[in-house]
């Protein structure tokens, strides 16, 4: 694998966020924290953020700004969000991970959106209710009326009750944990309260292109040049090459518990030990094990999905540095080697969504994320060095 993988972009860690919940920009790439939705989050279908295994709310793991500027399509406002489950025993199944693609649809639709511009102005209203300690039913009724008013402006009526719950929790999340709790209670009363306001520690990222020279030199860095020259000067040709014994043949790299695929993976990681994600639109992923599942077809257009980016396990180590104890339990349990995100090559958007124009021109599409785990003990039993 020469030349740094041909155009791959590496995400390197930058500064920590001052507060794990601080909002940033839709166009920022970061790990952890809260997602920066470009539209009011009550318009988001709630089932997108529910863990497939345990049913609790997913937390943002990474937000990567990924515009496309290839021949046919030119989409500037596009971000890939990866969500994971932070219930302690639930991070290690493929269903606990979700990838969403948020992008702006064609701008010609924006004219029909003008009627919706009052939608973003509603979040300030519930903030004043954040300090109430009354029971939920009063707040429900008020917001029901509010949401009915919204639906008259053309938003989907079916989302009203749940939207309001989310809206309150997102806008007032910094004020008190009480608000987040009520937000969750409305949907799932009696659910564990412990994790409703957990977020993954947040740090920002910048991208860098790898240079091929670095990959070779990092492997070599630990060994003195003088030592190597000694080896080269010695006479390695004095071994019996010309006689009829068995000749040595080329052998692929192998170690006791590491096969060729993994060794190539590790070599690329060692070149840039800080990398947190690798982005190569339409390229080949760097796999840790040779088997990978099938990403399936795009839900909107039915077309085949291609690789876009993958998250690397170094980010777990970085997150552990900034995590407090309860977050550490979750992070230490994660044992994935890489999270590979596959997206639709056309970056399609549903025709229905364009007609709805609920989100001021933004659409959210679910994409596939495949997880490669570390092999467990049972899977990696080896009979010998040569097997």
């Amino acid at each position: 694998m020469g030349g740094g993988g041909g155009g791959v972009l590496l995400g390197m860690p930058g500064p920590w966020a001052d507060d794990n919940r601080e909002p940033s920009d839709f166009y920022t790439s970061k790990i952890g924290g809260l997602p920066d939705w470009p539209f009011p989050v009550e318009n988001l279908a709630p089932n997108l953020l529910i863990c497939g295994t345990c049913g609790s709310k997913l937390c943002l793991v990474s937000q990567v700004y990924a515009p496309i500027s290839s021949g046919t399509s030119n989409i500037e406002d596009r971000t890939i969000l990866v969500f994971g489950c932070i219930i302690p025993n639930c991070g290690n199944t493929p269903l606990s991970w979700r990838a969403l693609r948020v992008q702006k649809v064609d701008s010609e639709r924006e004219s029909s959106v003008s009627a919706e511009e009052e939608v973003p102005s509603t979040p300030p209203v519930p903030v004043s209710k954040a300090n109430w300690l009354d029971d939920d039913s009063d707040e429900d009724i008020d917001l029901e009326a509010l949401s009915k008013a919204l639906s008259e402006a053309g938003t989907m009526a079916s989302h009203s009750k749940k939207k309001d719950g989310n809206q309150r929790s997102e806008s007032a999340v910094k004020n008190s944990t009480l608000v987040a709790r009520t937000g969750v209670d409305m949907e799932m009363p009696g659910k564990s309260l412990i994790h409703s306001n957990q977020v993954v520690p947040c740090f920002y990222m910048y991208t860098q292109e790898p240079s091929s020279k670095d990959i070779v030199s990092s492997v070599c860095s630990n060994y003195s040049e003088l030592f190597i020259k000694e080896k080269q000067n010695c006479d390695y040709n004095d071994d019996e090459m010309g006689d009829a014994g068995e000749q040595e043949v080329y052998e692929y790299d192998k170690a006791l518990s590491a096969d060729r695929t993994y060794l190539k993976f590790k070599k690329q990681l060692d070149a840039y030990p800080d990398q947190c994600f690798r982005h190569l639109y339409g390229g080949k992923p760097l796999l840790a094990t040779a088997e990978l599942g099938d990403p399936g077809n795009c839900k909107l257009c039915g077309g085949f999905r291609h690789f876009e980016m993958q998250l690397m396990p170094q980010l777990i180590s970085f997150l552990l540095e900034g995590a407090d104890d309860c977050q550490k339990i979750v992070l230490e349990n994660w044992n994935w080697m890489t999270l590979v995100v596959y997206t639709c090559p056309k970056s399609c958007s549903n025709k229905l969504d364009r007609g709805k124009s609920t989100n001021s021109g933004w659409i959210v599409a679910e994409e596939a994320v495949l997880v490669q785990f570390e092999k467990t003990l049972q899977e990696s039993i080896h009979t010998g060095y040569f097997s």
Binding site: I329, E332, K375
Partner: protein, 270 residues
């Protein structure tokens, strides 16, 4: 060649350079300056690596006890570290016939060991000699195995020989190791002797068969033989195993206990 006591390893030169060049590799490496330090930085990739970097695992034996796969060579560097010595056994060109002539690559065999029960073997082919040597050192560290030593007769002092007769095979080469009394030294050909010295075995009788001229197979057969020393069930192991928690369980359970109570208290305080 005269017998050498096992403590002096590799002070003779077979043309592959002496111990001096290698001994202070650590010092030479660290003197390199800013760019070096950045490249020496290790961000662990596996769960085991994270535990080792945090210092929660103190010795390699804990890893062997639970048969955890070692996927990062930096783990071995951290746990065994400076005691680990290495030696290049052979560098041989391998050739492939192409339409434009022959393409030559170099194959390096490296043995690493600390002389106290841990030995590893790495084989790497690369276009340049230097790359092959470096790569094979890394592969050797990933393949480090524990070697069991025992007694020939009276159990006085430290174990010095293999615990029983073991044999290893690779290709056509078979290597058989037989326990020897103290003072016998390593009675073996030059190639397996090097491996056994790195393993920390002081006395052993060996016997080999097959085409031992192929150094690759010979050294792998010796390595396979050493791998089997801990695979042999002797009466010492008849006692029932007392299972210990693996490092993964131990350290996650520790953190799980106190914090859940704290969280519940916080929420109710609102």
């Amino acid at each position: 060649m005269a017998e050498r006591p096992p403590a002096e390893r590799g002070s003779f030169g077979r043309g592959f350079g002496g111990r001096g060049g290698r001994g202070d590799r650590g010092g030479r490496g660290r003197r390199r300056g800013g760019r070096k330090e950045e490249e020496e930085k290790w961000v662990p990739v596996t769960k085991l690596g994270r535990l080792v970097k945090d210092g929660k695992i103190s010795s390699v034996e804990q890893i062997y006890l639970h048969s955890l796969p070692i996927k990062e060579y930096q783990i071995i560097d951290t746990l065994i570290g400076p005691g680990l010595k290495d030696e290049v056994m052979k560098i041989t060109p391998v050739q492939k016939q192409t339409r434009a002539g022959q393409r030559t690559r170099f194959k390096a065999f490296v043995v690493v060991g600390d002389g106290n029960g841990h030995v590893g073997l790495g084989v790497k082919c690369a276009k340049e000699v230097a790359t092959a040597i470096r790569g094979s050192i890394i592969l050797a560290k990933l393949s480090i195995i524990p070697v069991r030593r025992g007694y020939w007769g009276n159990k006085i002092g430290k174990p010095h020989t293999v615990p029983c007769k073991v044999t290893g095979k690779c290709g056509s080469v078979t290597v058989r190791m037989v326990p020897a009394p103290r003072g016998a030294g390593i009675v073996a050909a030059r190639v397996p002797k090097k491996v056994l010295q790195f393993a920390g075995i002081e006395d052993v009788f060996t016997s080999s068969r097959g085409s031992t001229k192929t150094l690759g197979n010979f050294v792998k057969a010796t390595f396979d033989c050493l791998l089997k020393t801990y695979g042999f069930l002797t009466p010492d192991f008849w006692k029932e195993t007392r299972f210990v928690r693996s490092p993964f369980q131990e350290y996650t359970d520790l953190l799980a206990k106190p914090t859940s109570k704290v969280l519940i208290a916080e929420v109710h305080d609102e």
